[in-house]
Symmetry: C2
Subunit: 332 residues, 2 copies
């Protein structure tokens, strides 16, 4: 397949997921709640998790249609976390649209998140699979771990002594878990062998790590227009990203004082945000942290892709390879 064909196929899968998501909100429910659930689910996004689930199912010989309800379920669970996380982060916008607590209010954002979680389970329960109880168990473990990951992330906000290892443990739960859960669930629904299921879970694990590191990197290297967010937002907020934690380990003198300050309270009181971001980005470059992040992204992606060799060769396995590669080169 050509890159253009891969890209077309990806768009087709996204549309399938979007169409399914458009059907899962209960009709005739309370107006604000129903409107907000629809608003969130119609908000687009890359649909990475659901697409990975669908492709993992196909890659082990399953049928795409059998995985669609579970794909919609995981995407809905992901959106539940976004709605509640946006409340916790006081985020005014996401993907260019007002967040639920801004467009409606806090109460509706709480309930919309809660309801989305219910809708996610309901969609998953429509999956026809002998392994349904196992799928629900994975889904539930994933839910609990995502909450724990978010709790760790919040805990990190109040600490300036977070280590790189702690960072990896946090993103493993907060971001990684849903991705490795998606690939594992897809493989189970597709009737994959134990070895294939394990392989796809591990594929998801490495890909999830690369994905999150790429997220951290894009904060400093993306083009603002394509990125859709302020460049350097993580630096301004003193977010404990891989880059900031790693750079803090490597610098001394006044650079060290600067990064410790940012780790404690972000860029507030350090002059203009723009100049702080540019100073810190230069530090990332000079200390080799930027290169190391890119290296980590590529290394994790290579590990992920290498695992795919254990799967039957075919269009879907090729698509998973292409998708991994696209995620490394994404611009937003």
């Amino acid at each position: 397949m050509t890159p253009r064909e891969f890209s077309r196929r990806y768009s087709a899968l996204r549309r399938m997921v979007d169409r399914r998501l458009a059907t899962i909100v209960t009709r005739g429910g309370p107006k604000d709640l129903t409107d907000a659930c629809r608003y969130v689910l119609a908000g687009g996004g890359k649909r990475v998790r659901s697409t990975l689930l669908l492709l993992s199912c196909e890659a082990v010989g399953g049928r795409l249609n059998d995985a669609l309800d579970a794909g919609a379920a995981i995407e809905t669970m992901h959106n539940f976390t976004l709605v509640h996380d946006d409340v916790m982060d006081h985020a005014p916008a996401r993907r260019g649209r007002a967040t639920v607590h801004i467009r409606w209010d806090l109460n509706n954002a709480l309930l919309t998140g809660d309801t989305l979680l219910g809708l996610a389970y309901r969609s998953l329960l429509r999956t026809r699979s002998e392994s349904l109880p196992h799928l629900i168990t994975l889904f539930t473990t994933g839910l609990i771990e995502v909450c724990e990951g978010q709790a760790l992330d919040l805990e990190f906000e109040d600490r300036s002594d977070v280590t790189v290892d702690e960072y990896f443990a946090m993103i493993e739960k907060k971001t990684g878990r849903l991705i490795s859960m998606a690939t594992e669930m897809g493989a189970i629904i597709g009737g994959g062998s134990r070895a294939h299921v394990d392989a796809l879970r591990l594929f998801g694990h490495y890909l999830g790590r690369a994905f999150q590191l790429q997220d951290d990197l894009l904060d400093v290297v993306a083009e603002e227009k394509q990125f859709g967010k302020t460049i350097g937002g993580d630096i301004i907020e003193g977010k404990k990203t891989f880059l900031l934690l790693k750079a803090a380990e490597r610098v001394a003198g006044k650079d060290r004082i600067l990064l410790r300050k940012i780790l404690k309270g972000g860029a507030r009181g350090l002059g203009s945000n723009r100049s702080t971001v540019s100073v810190v980005t230069a530090l990332y470059r000079r200390t080799g942290v930027l290169d190391e992040t890119m290296d980590q992204i590529h290394r994790n992606t290579r590990k992920a892709v290498a695992i795919l060799d254990a799967l039957p060769a075919g269009r879907s396995t090729a698509m998973l390879r292409w998708l991994s590669d696209s995620l490394v080169h994404r611009v937003s």
Copy 2:
């Protein structure tokens, strides 16, 4: 069995639930999240839903132990709703202790609720039953309806034209659903016949209605000390209870003007809260609304209890009868 024996048995069931609840929080999770989950689950309460589930299981011939995980699950789901509802209602305390968003903060209250929901599903998934997928489907439908009920309740806050029928539709979802779900799930786990499962669901439906009406009534007739909340709190806040809606239908002249004002904005700006509560309570008495509420409570409880005649006679069925009766006579 004597009332004393019933009461002892009820305490024993509560302790069983409490002990199981003490085991369901994940060890080694993020500190604030773990602490808050334990704090909520150790907060006591009547454990009505879980006790009803256990007794329903036994009443159709099942074993108590088989229903304990599901009992803990429904109690945990109930506590998830309390944590999030308390945020939405700005409630500073529950059962004499600070609420999670007060003792910790809003973010931890959000995550604690979300995590409790995950723990609820995880507990339910431990149930050994051929009907597990059906139980999870019921649980999920219940979750979605409870959210819808809460959304309707919030919607009612901004409306002064809520009808008594709308009120019943709201409480059916917000309060009734978890209770009829508890009795239905217990019957299913106990291996009850289709007729017994239907009977116990309907029993829960009528009991849930009586339970909520009693809640509304206690707001005006309870003894403050035993009640643990301010008497007349619902009147002060203009909450659309059965009593307020029914009384508003029946009064004219200046009484009507007063109740319309309360329906619009509570007791604010109407003089001292204490005197408003006493005037409105007198109105409830004079218009016969107090009597009608008591009558409705007794009628629904009688309907519930009558349904129990369709079940095998035995200790648990007798306990369900006794429990229904106790709930009507509760003081808090």
